[in-house]
Symmetry: C2
Subunit: 327 residues, 2 copies
């Protein structure tokens, strides 16, 4: 029998850990040249690719007491798939830079690989991990780069929204931030240190919110649907609806007028990775999208709620808000 | 006047830090859609792209006492450009996931951006930073993903080498590891903590070696040249010639027979990011490459030196060797 120590990535070494990861990912590659060489070769049938990168860092983005390896693999895939979808593109490949403490159990790494794979299978069929990098770090870090294709369509930017367009969202708003609040409020000890989640202490709604935080399910397939339906602008809601809507309004030089009725979690909570999109008002919204406002000519305020300018803490700033979120 | 604290990324916040980075990169983008949206859109004229990712982590990969922000930006670009070149491809874009301690000075981040930009300008004209991600972390981490194009050529893999081919390299071997040894031997205090480099304590050769470690200059432009010249296999030498040659020999199922004469630093030292390539023996090597061996039918040993199987510590394992390199 092997001791626990012998199952750490530091003891096993790079080659053995990569072999475990490759086993977890086996058969999923769809690339012309997949993992294992200096670089992968991906098809770009219409002569363009869409590329984005997003990182999860232990501390500001997750706590190991709350997230499993599977959760982290899933979430690191999902947040990147959402960025590709937000361009109206279809994700085809993920590249994963994994920086691991040397005492990380290899079983955790295998679960992380399975989480990446399952998120691709369930959210973006045909997309797979096609490469990556493994290094040692004191801070567990997962930096994912996602690549997608446009299938001949034009990309949908943040800057294309026009006065008169309908503002719509697909996916949940607020659940992930309620899930985060549950973790901070209910699963820390007396001195604030995270403790493992006991699902028995959660009701059904709370479990849904927690799942939205740990394993978000952005509507990735609706990105190309929105593009095909004529979306004039689109982005994913990663840092909070008001903050991201402000970015879209500024990029498009319009005022985004939200209807009243959205609660505080929906307005200011991040990490759901819903799709925020604008559509011409003269045709029906595609299935999966619901109207939440309209666009007006640019006024002083970038975003209004029921006619009143949005104020206060609009959303999440990973640099400035990090200390405030320490457990 | 602002206090020092007010120039940290934690105080300034994401938006202000991104603005500084964008200023440092201004005018460099060559993409259809560059930084600032959910994702970039890159041209892929021949219907394929080449993608690779590689990470620098504070501790195993660099020490802030020894590397400037410029050095880190340069090196994180260079090592990724080398991976694209090693496929015979031409780099077109970098994506940079930057995880920064909140007390990082914004001037350091601006220097890092300038290092990224200068490395692209000098090593891979036309390539630029086209996107990225900024997050907080206790451990400074730079994960770069590079994208390139093949201009209609087939990718050059590790697995295409054939018995009878000539083994050649372009670029330096051993200088970067001599530079690392200089840092560990000469620029640590009595208890082993890194101290800033005093160039006055180095002779001209040592300065070249140190520069190879801190700001490597892989022969990126020679990747496509090698492909056009009929290279049968290629990779970059990142972890040590013997270790990387073993990987190529195993992938191609051949034995790589090195001529005698390479010193220990050239054989076992990593991080030069030279290009190791195999060419048909019936034509001249392209300019910039020099022969270092030949390929034979696979025997027991993957790599031989003057006919003797290579043994010992072949190169660098980031998981297993991390503790041994602690300063």
């Amino acid at each position: 029998m092997q001791s626990e120590h012998e199952q750490t990535v530091g003891h096993l070494g790079e080659k053995a850990v990569l072999a475990r990861i490759f086993t977890a990912l086996a058969g999923s590659s769809t690339a012309e040249i997949g993992p294992g060489d200096d670089a992968a070769v991906l098809a770009a049938p219409d002569g363009r690719v869409v590329v984005s990168t997003d990182t999860l860092v232990h501390g500001p983005d997750f706590r190991l007491a709350w997230s499993t390896g599977f959760d982290l693999g899933w979430k690191s895939a999902a947040v990147n798939l959402a960025d590709i979808a937000a361009m109206g593109a279809r994700p085809t490949a993920l590249f994963v830079a994994l920086a691991l403490p040397v005492d990380t159990d290899v079983a955790f790494v295998e679960e992380l690989a399975r989480g990446l794979r399952n998120a691709c299978d369930e959210l973006a069929d045909g997309c797979a991990v096609e490469g990556g990098d493994l290094t040692a770090s004191d801070t567990l870090t997962i930096a994912v780069t996602a690549v997608g294709v446009l299938d001949g369509r034009a990309p949908v930017l943040r800057s294309g929204a026009r006065p008169g367009d309908v503002v719509a969202v697909a996916g949940t708003l607020g659940a992930a931030s309620r899930g985060l609040a549950l973790l901070f409020d209910r699963f820390r000890d007396a001195v604030g240190t995270p403790v493992p989640v006991d699902e028995a202490r959660l009701d059904a709604t709370e479990r849904v919110d927690l799942a939205a935080q740990l394993r978000p399910t952005p509507p990735v397939a609706l990105g190309p649907v929105a593009a095909a339906a004529g979306a004039t602008a689109m982005m994913d809601v990663s840092d909070g609806l008001l903050l991201d809507a402000t970015r879209m309004a500024d990029a498009s030089e319009v005022t985004l007028a939200l209807a009243p009725g959205l609660d505080e979690a929906a307005l200011r909570g991040g990490e759901d990775h819903a799709l925020l999109a604008c559509f011409p008002s003269d045709r029906p919204l595609p299935d999966g999208f619901r109207a939440i406002g309209v666009l007006a000519a640019r006024a002083d305020a970038a975003v209004t709620i029921g006619g009143t300018p949005a104020t206060g803490h609009l959303g999440w700033d990973p640099q400035r808000d990090w200390d405030a979120r320490r457990g």
